[in-house]
């Protein structure tokens, strides 16, 4: 465990000193700051003034979800070359020549990438929170940051899946495959949530059919994001099957993480 923590620490330090990472972090924070216009403007619909707090509130909810997806993408991009680069620049051999087990190494690298992507997400979510507080004086519900924290499992899942795929296919294909898995889940989760929304149900004569088994067990990253958003908005969401999205993604992450460690254990250096 000690070596795992050390490897994770090196990974974090190596990533945050990369200029490309610093630049993307600055760009994302600036984008969040641009959002402050939403909190400061006055809005009217059909000549009637709209409560700017409501607008700020909706903007925060959208930004919350967008940031969650940005963090997932950043995690995927950071993870895609983590093992290949180590292999190419020789650091893998140099580190594994030390009393470091392979599982410590593979999971340490994975944990480091995850930690950076998650911290990135917390930073951006925190920026939204501070913006809303400073511009409107309104505190977003305390669950805002808790909901942000709950999305860590999405980031961990994506990072693990990219790492696993990168053993078999090229880096870019690994990211595309992972995006494919997430996007399929997103479509399935959004369609399911929409079909169970009160608005749509009021137009439907029959109750929506039970979801297919694959939709119940497919990684529910978007359902988890929607669920986390509902902590903030207070509006309940629906997800396919009886397994809570957090449990679903958590189990998938455990499976994929174990496969990463097992696959790396068989690697010939």
């Amino acid at each position: 465990m000690k070596s795992l923590m050390k490897i994770a620490g090196y990974t974090v330090r190596d990533i945050v000193r990369q200029k490309s990472f610093i630049a993307s972090a600055i760009v994302c924070v600036l984008l969040m700051i641009v959002l402050r216009g939403c909190y400061q403007g006055s809005y009217s619909v059909n000549g009637q003034a709209v409560n700017s707090l409501n607008v700020a509130w909706q903007a925060s909810l959208i930004a919350f979800s967008v940031v969650g997806h940005i963090a997932v993408l950043i995690g995927a991009l950071l993870a895609m070359r983590i093992y290949r680069r180590d292999r190419e620049d020789g650091s893998m051999v140099m580190l594994l020549a030390r009393p470091v087990s392979r599982w410590s190494y593979s999971l340490g690298r994975l944990a480091g990438v995850f930690f950076v992507a998650w911290a990135f997400m917390l930073l951006l979510h925190g920026t939204i929170y501070v913006l809303a507080l400073s511009n409107t004086g309104a505190r977003l519900p305390g669950l805002f940051l808790a909901a942000s924290g709950a999305c860590f499992i999405n980031v961990l899942f994506v990072v693990s899946l990219v790492c696993l795929c990168s053993f078999f296919v090229s880096d870019v294909v690994a990211v595309l495959l992972t995006i494919g898995v997430v996007a399929t889940g997103m479509v399935s989760d959004l369609v399911f949530a929409a079909m169970h929304s009160k608005t749509l149900q009021s137009f439907m004569t029959n109750a929506p059919p039970d979801p297919a088994l694959w939709r119940s067990i497919w990684p529910k990253t978007t359902a988890l994001m929607l669920d986390a958003t509902s902590w903030v908005s207070g509006v309940p969401t629906h997800y396919a099957g009886s397994i809570h999205p957090f449990v679903n993604v958590f189990v998938w992450t455990l499976i994929v993480g174990a496969l990463v460690a097992m696959r790396f254990n068989r690697e010939e250096l």
């Binding site: 070596s3 090196y10 594994l96």
Partner: protein, 234 residues
């Protein structure tokens, strides 16, 4: 210190190491010699747990090489050492010191001494992207020497070094040898091997042709190079 028993390594239909067995005793300086593709690097990789033997057993200090702790007292220098380009030589050594469990104070003292001994003083705070191949090799060798390991596994340690660097490395190895460090040296520079090592094994097509003390291998009027060329051509 090192025990290899009937180790075989196959890559598909190609046999890189074929039923090799030998032991290296504590304090011995052992050279692994052979032409390119003879199986030397495969043996070293198996010893460090980088690849698994197809059959046979390998152990260091009585511990199977599958146990990472067997590498706690091993220093390894690869033929093509690499340092992540954004790290300085000092940072690279500090990471290795941390991984082998040196305290911060111990690490600082040792790293400073090692930087001097590998001739990198004044350059240790530069990013590795500015280093030449020889400088990277010196830092790699320094990393192997950290923590005064009981066993040094050196795969072409003087690769990329100039004649002065080669001489300095030889002197370093002689010093470690005097300190009782076991050395497994994989090198093509036979003149250096002859000066540093007590024992040598010549390996060809994955099989050991001879394993003897260098004094027994090298007869009067011959050099190790002469014996090596004769045995490989036979």
């Amino acid at each position: 210190m090192i025990s290899i028993t009937v180790a075989t390594k196959r890559y598909g239909s190609a046999t890189a190491v074929d039923n090799v067995s030998f032991e290296v005793r504590q304090g011995e300086s052992f050279a692994l010699l052979g032409p390119n593709g003879a199986g030397k690097t495969s043996l070293v990789k198996m010893l460090l747990g980088f690849t698994r033997p197809t059959s046979g057993t390998l152990s260091i200090n009585g511990m199977s090489v599958t146990d990472p702790m067997c590498r706690a007292s091993v220093g390894y220098c690869a033929e093509n050492n690499a340092i992540p380009p954004y790290l300085t030589g000092y940072e690279f050594l500090a990471r290795h010191a941390e991984l082998i469990g040196l305290s911060k104070d111990q690490a600082r003292t040792e790293i400073e001494a090692i930087i001097i001994s590998v001739g990198m003083q004044g350059k240790e705070k530069q990013a590795a992207r500015t280093y030449s191949k020889g400088m990277v090799q010196r830092i790699g060798l320094g990393a192997a020497l950290l923590g005064s390991p009981k066993l040094l596994i050196l795969d072409e340690p003087v690769s990329g070094l100039d004649p002065i660097g080669i001489r300095e490395v030889r002197m370093l190895l002689e010093e470690r040898k005097r300190m009782g460090t076991t050395i497994l040296l994989n090198s093509h520079l036979l003149s250096e091997v002859e000066k540093v090592c007590d024992t040598a094994a010549i390996i060809k097509n994955g099989k050991i042709l001879i394993k003897e003390s260098i004094s027994a291998i090298v007869k009067d009027g011959e050099s190790l190079e002469d014996v090596f060329v004769r045995m490989i051509k036979e």
